[in-house]
């Protein structure tokens, strides 16, 4: 009897073999791989363009074997909008960037692109701090969280209460798809790839604006070993940044 083998796992074709600079335990490496796998599954490597922001995501052009553009801080969405206007008829455009970049100086562009219903897939890596700059306060940092610019912990008096930017997008008619998953638990990582795929499919067939937030950990700046960082972040974000599909044109995946 002849045995037939089917490859069910392997090194994603769209992932480059360049060694990544991400710190041990960082979620960016997982996200990068998931995006590569989603692109491979959908067989869109030749048609897609990725735009990355500034910060830890800025080296994504080195790690993905697809056409990529690195945008200036705060300007990833406008760059992607311009690209989408030009190539959107025949290709897909996605944006991958950190929350410090997107919800800080990029917030206005995010909301305006969403309001216009631009044909884009935006993937935001929210790890509760501005990682590459050295662990500074980000718009999603939690109350009491110690960062390089809030050494005594983030206070409400000075910086207000953290806001769930992802769910702020829900009331915008131009937004087709909004979801969030944890990039540090096995079950959600598996479903995360499906969310990326769903977002890209929506862009391809419905031309709407879709948004996926990936909750991540930054063990280096939290000054914790990765397993401890996962444990602490998981408990701290509970109820503040829940996982789920918050808006979708059709029901399919559940978390």
């Amino acid at each position: 009897m002849e045995l037939k083998f089917e490859q069910i796992a392997g090194f994603p074709k769209s992932l480059s073999e360049t060694p990544q600079h991400f710190c041990p335990g960082c979620t960016h490496g997982v996200n990068t791989r998931l995006i590569a796998e989603a692109i491979d599954d959908l067989q869109v490597a030749g048609d897609i363009v990725g735009v990355c922001g500034m910060g830890c995501s800025a080296l994504l052009p080195d790690y993905l074997d697809i056409d990529m553009v690195a945008a200036p801080p705060g300007q990833a969405i406008p760059v992607a909008v311009g690209l989408s206007h030009e190539i959107g008829e025949k290709g897909l455009v996605f944006v991958y960037l950190g929350e410090g970049d997107l919800y800080g100086r990029g917030l206005s562009a995010l909301f305006h692109a969403a309001i216009r219903g631009e044909s884009l897939s935006v993937f935001c890596a929210n790890n509760l701090n501005m990682g590459m700059s050295g662990g500074h306060l980000s718009p999603t940092s939690l109350l009491g969280q110690k960062t390089a610019t809030t050494p005594n912990g983030k206070s409400t008096v000075k910086y207000g209460v953290p806001v769930d930017f992802t769910r702020l997008l829900l009331n915008i008619p131009g937004v087709s798809f909004v979801a969030r998953f944890k990039g540090f638990t096995a079950g959600e990582i598996r479903k995360g790839k499906e969310l990326f795929k769903r977002s890209l499919q929506i862009q391809k067939f419905q031309k709407g604006f879709s948004f996926v937030e990936i909750l991540g950990i930054c063990p280096t700046n939290l000054e914790l070993p990765p397993p401890e960082a996962v444990k602490q972040v998981k408990s701290a974000i509970s109820g503040i940044y829940p996982s789920g599909i918050f808006k979708t044109p059709e029901v399919g995946i559940t978390l």
């Binding site: 800025a58 074997d65 300007q75 206007h85 190539i87």
Partner: protein, 350 residues
Amino acid sequence: MEKKRLLKGAEAIGEAAIQTGCTRFYAYPVPNQSDLMEYLIQEENNGRGLTVFQAEDPLAAFFMAYGATIGGARVLTAVNSVDLPDALRAASYFSAADLPLVCIVFTQSGPGSGNIYPEQSDTLAALYGTRVGDGFAPVLTPSTPTDCVLATNEAFRLAETYHVPVFILLDAACAQLTETVDFSALKIHDIPKNHPTIKGENGGQPVKFTTLALDIEKMEERKEALKEKQARFLGEEDGSYKIEGNENTTLVVAFGIAAIQAKRALESFQNEVNPCSLFEPTSLYPFPKKALQEAMSKANQLFILDMSNGQLAELLKPYIPEDMTLHTFSTTGGAVPRVEQIKSWIQQAL
């Protein structure tokens, strides 16, 4: 379309951009600049092959332009003086990524919000602000609507030849100045599009656009390439100018609406003073220094007229011989120098 069109300076730029094959315009509407935007929207609706997009803010407009250029478009952008810093930030990225951009800066009275009346006080900011990180950008200064057409065509040529951002400084008065532009008499160059694009050829490898270079050696290579490009640009381009009356011992230098007013003033002299020459640089970078030095070699009296606190004089300083008698005259706050003012200024000095 008609060969002759009655156009404002701002509209002449838009018409020239369309005829030069511009396919996208990104901007945020502000006074003076919005005349260009409105003209282009009208022509977009006439099916002229251009798409106009109003961005949420001027900086976003520039980076939408960045994305569209990478996607393969030929892009025009425009700002007024207030948003010039956004244009300079964008210029740094276009320089770093070797991408073309044409940006019209409608200059008005500043600093701060100032007012919407004409000034030329962004000259040095545009010239030196574009040098961030050793980047560079040609800077053109047309005056009449006909000049605006030629400068726009030239700007796209420079942008596509050297893959650099190009700035056109147009004061608010020139933007409103109206004349009949005879397109049949103008040579509008067909400019091939040859800038790098995201879906371009790269030997089968994915195309990457990044201005980040964490490696020092890689960054050094980039800077060396930029230096060579700038040297090539300065070696090949002389800088354009206009001159009226080449042989006179009195020389007036002005650009933009100041040059137009100076020309009117000089034409109105009737043997009241010796005839004067007028030198109008229509390019500030590269600066037509050889032509200016030649004009100055025949002169012993130099009059510099501008609409700022002496920025043109500061720019010309390195080219002025020590034995030259120098007179400077400026109007600011949005006031255009009047013909009578210029006449009496020259008469008093002589």
